[in-house]
Symmetry: C2
Subunit: 211 residues, 2 copies
């Protein structure tokens, strides 16, 4: 049965799952969530996911939420991208937790605040605060990638797919690849993977649709 990923193009958290599903060669299809129209705040959606977030993966009778859990589940099905040893598996989880706590959380926030939040609600002090936190996360990631092609082991894992969630988007939000040499090189490794696609090519919905 075709798996369904509830998602929207602008969601880097959904992109993590979409990219892994795609690169794993699994049978899946995206189902567009009208996030900016408030769909994820509806009672029906909250019934499916009390957290009110995307992505949600439906595989037959199983409904999973949180990109990290969906990533672990896809790896269970395929044996791919979870690390080759118990040590690597822990290291993959380590970067996934860090990403959720510090990297994608902050990149998603700054991108929302500087691109999608209506102008009248934007605040210079709040932006400066969040830009500072984004820079700190990028610094940690850039340092970790010194001399490495991938975050864990010798090939791509969920650690990479998680941490890159918001880093391929074209909208400016405070992340400029040219300023972060190791991150830039590593993103090049990811986008060179056979079949790789950027977020708006894997999931329906983009700012262009709302222009």
């Amino acid at each position: 049965m075709t798996m369904k990923l509830y998602c929207f193009g602008e969601s880097g958290n959904a992109y993590k799952a979409a990219l892994q599903l795609h690169l794993s060669g699994l049978d899946w299809e995206p189902v567009w969530v009208d996030f900016f129209g408030g769909a994820s705040r509806s009672p029906e959606y909250r019934e499916m996911n009390v957290m009110g977030e995307a992505p949600v993966l439906v595989d037959g009778d199983l409904t999973l939420t949180q990109s990290g859990v969906i990533q672990m589940y896809i790896t269970e099905k395929t044996g791919k991208f979870g690390g080759n040893t118990p040590e690597e598996a822990r290291e993959v989880m380590r970067w996934m937790f860090w990403d959720n706590h510090k990297m994608s959380s902050q990149a998603g926030m700054t991108r929302f605040l500087t691109n999608f939040l209506p102008e009248k609600h934007r605040n210079a002090d709040v932006n400066a605060f969040n830009q500072g936190r984004l820079k700190a996360a990028l610094q940690t990631l850039n340092t970790a990638l010194e001399g490495r092609d991938w975050l864990v082991g010798d090939g791509p894992t969920n650690a990479d797919f998680s941490c890159c969630g918001y880093l391929f988007y074209p909208e400016p939000y405070g992340f400029d690849r040219a300023e972060w040499a190791n991150i830039d090189r590593w993103l090049g490794n990811i986008s060179a993977l056979p079949g790789w696609k950027p977020p708006y090519d894997l999931m329906p919905g983009s700012p262009a649709d709302r222009a």
Copy 2:
């Protein structure tokens, strides 16, 4: 061999691991990290953890960071608190990821901004922004606990230990148990567990030491 948990009393992320180690009856000891003195920013500490964070667990030759990974590892050793079925295990992970992304991240931030950040660096707009995000996370948690004693299944799991990380601290930071009936009841269930201790009783270091 006695496990060492690098931690400091003010860290709710470290408390998650300390509480689980303690309730699991394992042989461990805390090692104080002088976080407010800048210890986690030192080259030596960054060598141990590029993320510059606490907690860090050292078990013989194994060094683990990220509270979520440490929680999973303790569960591997003991078989406790990870959920009783594959479905429960995924649900536990789901709350751990959500907590890292939305709950403890935000509670830790607001607590830092309103208690530990020097007055001259505080900003009313930034505080209001973060208080709004804290409230949204508390709302999700309170809703999920409606009619439930524990987040997953019929007993305490890492989901509970993760989400409660910052919720037992005495310093005011925008969380008042009296405003959140389900969270208040659930925290009561956790603190009624045999042997339970609050953060400053499990880990060295507290604001009192720096007063």
